[in-house]
């Protein structure tokens, strides 16, 4: 059953408007197609490195759409492709960074791929040492609170990174100062090759929240609607002065850790086959089709448009010039 325009405009599914769900789906699809293109480019030897977010799309879209995208402060990590695209970065922005070209908004070609930043969209710079963004996010949130602003800070990291001291110190501040902060843990159960059971002796990362006096929630990160609802609650609480939520979204990492990782050394073929079944993208697609919100035709059109976007971004980035070598020399200090 395919809807008419009027039906679509007023349709809801599980209490959410159809066009919101379609936007979320589109955002997931866009990230996925861009991600796939990056893998292909790497295997073709055209880019040096790629670290992927496949399997995380549903969780990231649920959280992004619960925020004031582009306004609230976002401190993402390297797997947050869906998140940064949803919050206002373009596929070209991402591609320029991956190719290390002039005009890369994240770093002007100085940082590795997927080290996103975008000042205008309030996307803070991704670092390589993990979890450093979490206490910085606490600082961002603290400044917001001290200033009496109404924006919140959202930061994301993997479950392995929650073992860093940075994480714990950040939550200390968050709890003591009731910071307007959401700390999102995208738990895909692998820190490169180390499984969750070797990283922590607790079944949920959100169990850590109680130790710091903050809210702890675990949600199915493969379900964008469930994640969206949980994120909206966390965001509302943060914005209204209710303090911090540690929001754990359970996701899957469909790919090796990075383009250089050989995950066959620690994940069996059966494991990986089972993962594919959990792929949130086709699951959401199916769900929307069953609800009559998305048709095959529409999906095809979306896909074509998106692949077109990706093609344009890819080609434009490939022909864009490299930064002049003088750019490597500085400036080092702000004026």
């Amino acid at each position: 059953m395919v809807m008419t325009a009027v039906e679509a405009a007023t349709a809801t599914h599980e209490g959410l408007p159809a066009d919101l769900l379609l936007d979320m789906y589109t955002a997931m699809l866009r990230a996925r197609r861009l991600d796939e293109r990056c893998w292909i480019l790497h295997r073709q030897g055209k880019i040096a490195f790629h670290i992927s977010g496949m399997g995380h799309e549903a969780a990231q879209v649920g959280i992004a759409f619960a925020m004031r995208r582009g306004e609230d402060h976002l401190l993402p990590y390297y797997r947050d492709l869906t998140m940064v695209l949803a919050c206002g970065m373009s596929p070209l922005d991402v591609m320029l960074g991956i190719f290390g070209k002039q005009g890369d908004p994240s770093s002007g070609g100085r940082q590795m791929p997927e080290h996103y930043a975008h000042r205008a969209k309030n996307i803070y710079s991704v670092s390589s040492p993990v979890a450093t963004q979490v206490p910085q996010a606490a600082g961002v949130a603290l400044a917001e609170k001290l200033r009496g602003g109404d924006r919140i800070a959202v930061t994301c990291l993997g479950e392995g990174s929650t073992n860093q001291g940075d994480f714990h110190e950040a939550l200390t501040w968050a709890g003591v100062h009731k910071l307007p902060l959401v700390v999102v843990v995208e738990n895909n159960e692998y820190a490169i090759s180390v499984p969750m059971a070797k990283e922590m002796a607790i079944p949920h990362v959100s169990d850590r929240a109680v130790a710091y006096g903050v809210r702890g929630v675990t949600v199915d990160g493969l379900d964008p609607i469930a994640t969206y609802l949980a994120a909206r609650e966390a965001v509302d609480i943060a914005r209204s002065g209710g303090g911090t939520t540690l929001l754990e979204a359970r996701v899957v990492r469909l790919t090796p850790h990075s383009s250089d990782d050989d995950d066959s050394t620690y994940r069996s073929k059966e494991d990986k086959a089972a993962l594919k079944i959990s792929d949130p993208l086709p699951k959401f697609r199916g769900r929307l089709m069953d609800a009559g919100i998305l048709s095959q035709q529409h999906d095809r059109e979306l896909d074509e448009q998106i692949v077109d976007e990706v093609n344009h971004a890819h080609q434009a980035a490939e022909v864009a010039p490299y930064p002049n070598v003088e750019w490597a020399a500085g400036p080092v200090f702000a004026p």
């Binding site: 991600d35 796939e36 893998w39 292909i40 790497h42 295997r43 030897g45 040096a48 490195f49 992927s52 496949m54 070209l92 320029l96 290390g100 070209k101 002039q102 005009g103 908004p105 002007g108 205008a120 469909l254 790919t255 090796p256 990075s258 383009s259 250089d260 990782d261 050989d262 995950d263 066959s264 050394t265 990986k272 434009a316 022909v319 864009a320 010039p321 490299y322 930064p323 002049n324 070598v325 003088e326 750019w327 020399a329 500085g330 400036p331």
Partner: protein, 434 residues
């Protein structure tokens, strides 16, 4: 016991052929090495000759059938053997079209071998078969699976033979190899000495990129393939066209009345065709099984389509045409080529090609062979030149219409001497035209 006619393997990767024409009917006598049928493959149309003498007793495939190489298609023998053959006949395998999976081997894969191969992810075409005709038997594949295969010490798991997406292929497992290994030279040139402020809008500059259309792609692919396939050598002769020019002047009006615009092209065509009959080795195609001599002379004439590219319509059985017929054929094909009205059949099946590059001013050139042919004749600009003529042992200077003919030939098939003889024949024909 008669002689079996087996569908041959006509090319390295040619696994089947279409029977386009039986040249003999049942009951007809067949001599040793006499052609008995024509087979069309995606590379070449060729004749299959008899390996024995006798009468054509049985046909096991019809015209139009696509038959796998190695299949029995006919039987030749003594007339009275016709009725005794049933017991020894093996059913031909009529292959379906492209639905059939080709693993690059011409031998059949039995069901048990196919099952074992699928279970163990083995590519059967890589195996050595000890069965009939090189077939991989069950024993062969079990032996292959059972035998220990050399493993690299400490190697990461190999990429599966099945097609994996880029993100399903494991990485090397080595993080951050030296950049030189990835990119060769580092990124370009130091430019200005002023530091660049961060740019927020992307600065995209490129020269115009002309997208490739299908014809361009097809031409490109063919040219590259041709050069890779044949060792190309070009030999150039100079021809005095005064006799041809005289003939043309005398006959142009008559031909016009008969509906043909008489250009120089039909003259070159006729001379070439005659030379091809005299030197059949030039009217051929290379194959690992042997040089396939084409009985028909299908002459391709390259037609330029300007910026769009070029196309080669083929005059089939050009040896059956006289000058008028050739003139008409050339006119017609060139005309329809430019209007893009050629039929697919008309651009296939050529055995030799002529190209008139002189019409655009070129004196001589080194054209690229139109695969799978043996040679291509380039005709240059017809130009009045000063030449030395000798009459009664007296040298004099004359002004003659001269042209360079360049033959590019496949040096696998022809040597310089035979190629030159061929062109010399053309020259001789043109210079003695009456």
């Amino acid at each position: 016991m008669g002689t079996q006619v087996i569908m041959p393997q006509l090319g390295e990767s040619v696994v089947e052929g279409k029977i386009s024409r039986w040249l003999k009917q049942i009951g007809e006598p067949v001599k040793l090495y006499e052609p008995i049928l024509e087979v069309e493959t995606d590379k070449v149309t060729t004749e299959v000759t008899a390996a024995g003498e006798g009468t054509l007793l049985k046909l096991y495939a019809n015209e139009g059938d696509v038959v796998k190489a190695g299949t029995l298609i006919a039987l030749i023998g003594a007339p009275n053997e016709a009725n005794n053959e049933q017991a020894h006949v093996t059913q031909p395998e009529i292959a379906a079209s492209s639905a059939e999976k080709h693993n690059g081997s011409s031998a059949r894969v039995s069901p048990v071998v196919a099952r074992i191969a699928a279970e163990h992810n083995v590519d059967v075409s890589l195996l050595h078969g000890t069965g009939e005709g090189g077939r991989v038997t069950k024993k062969d594949i079990l032996a292959y699976i059972g035998s220990p295969r050399p493993q690299k010490e400490g190697a990461a798991m190999k990429v599966e033979p099945e097609k994996l997406e880029a993100w399903e292929q494991p990485g090397l497992g080595e993080l951050f190899r030296p950049t030189e290994e990835l990119f060769g030279k580092a990124a370009p040139t130091p430019a200005s000495s002023t530091p660049i402020a961060p740019v927020t809008t992307p600065a995209v500059t490129s020269d115009a990129v002309v997208p490739l259309n299908n014809m361009r792609k097809a031409i490109a692919d063919h040219m590259v393939l041709s050069k890779r396939t044949s060792p190309h050598v070009t030999t150039v002769f100079e021809v005095d066209l005064s006799k041809v020019a005289a003939h043309r002047a005398a006959n142009k009006a008559v031909f016009e009345r008969d509906g043909a615009n008489l250009t120089f092209t039909p003259y070159f065509a006729m001379a070439t065709i005659a030379a091809l009959k005299q030197y059949p080795l030039v009217n051929s195609s290379w194959s690992e099984a042997g040089i396939a001599l084409h009985r028909a002379v299908n002459l391709g004439i390259a037609v330029s389509l300007g910026e769009e590219g070029l196309i080669v319509p083929v005059i089939k059985n050009a040896d059956s045409l006289n000058l008028l017929g050739l003139a008409r054929a050339v006119n017609d094909l060139a005309d329809r080529a430019r209007r893009q009205q050629l039929k697919p059949d008309e651009v296939q099946g050529g055995t030799f090609t002529m190209t008139n590059h002189g019409t655009s001013g070129s004196l001589f050139a080194t054209p690229i062979i139109n695969q799978p042919q043996c040679g291509i004749l380039g005709v240059g600009l017809i130009q009045k030149r000063v030449v030395v003529v000798t009459q009664n042992e007296v040298d004099a200077i004359a002004i003659r219409p001269m042209v360079y003919l360049g033959l590019t030939f496949d040096h696998r098939i022809l040597d310089g001497n035979s190629a030159d003889n061929f062109v010399a024949t053309i020259k001789q024909r043109l210079e003695t035209w009456t």
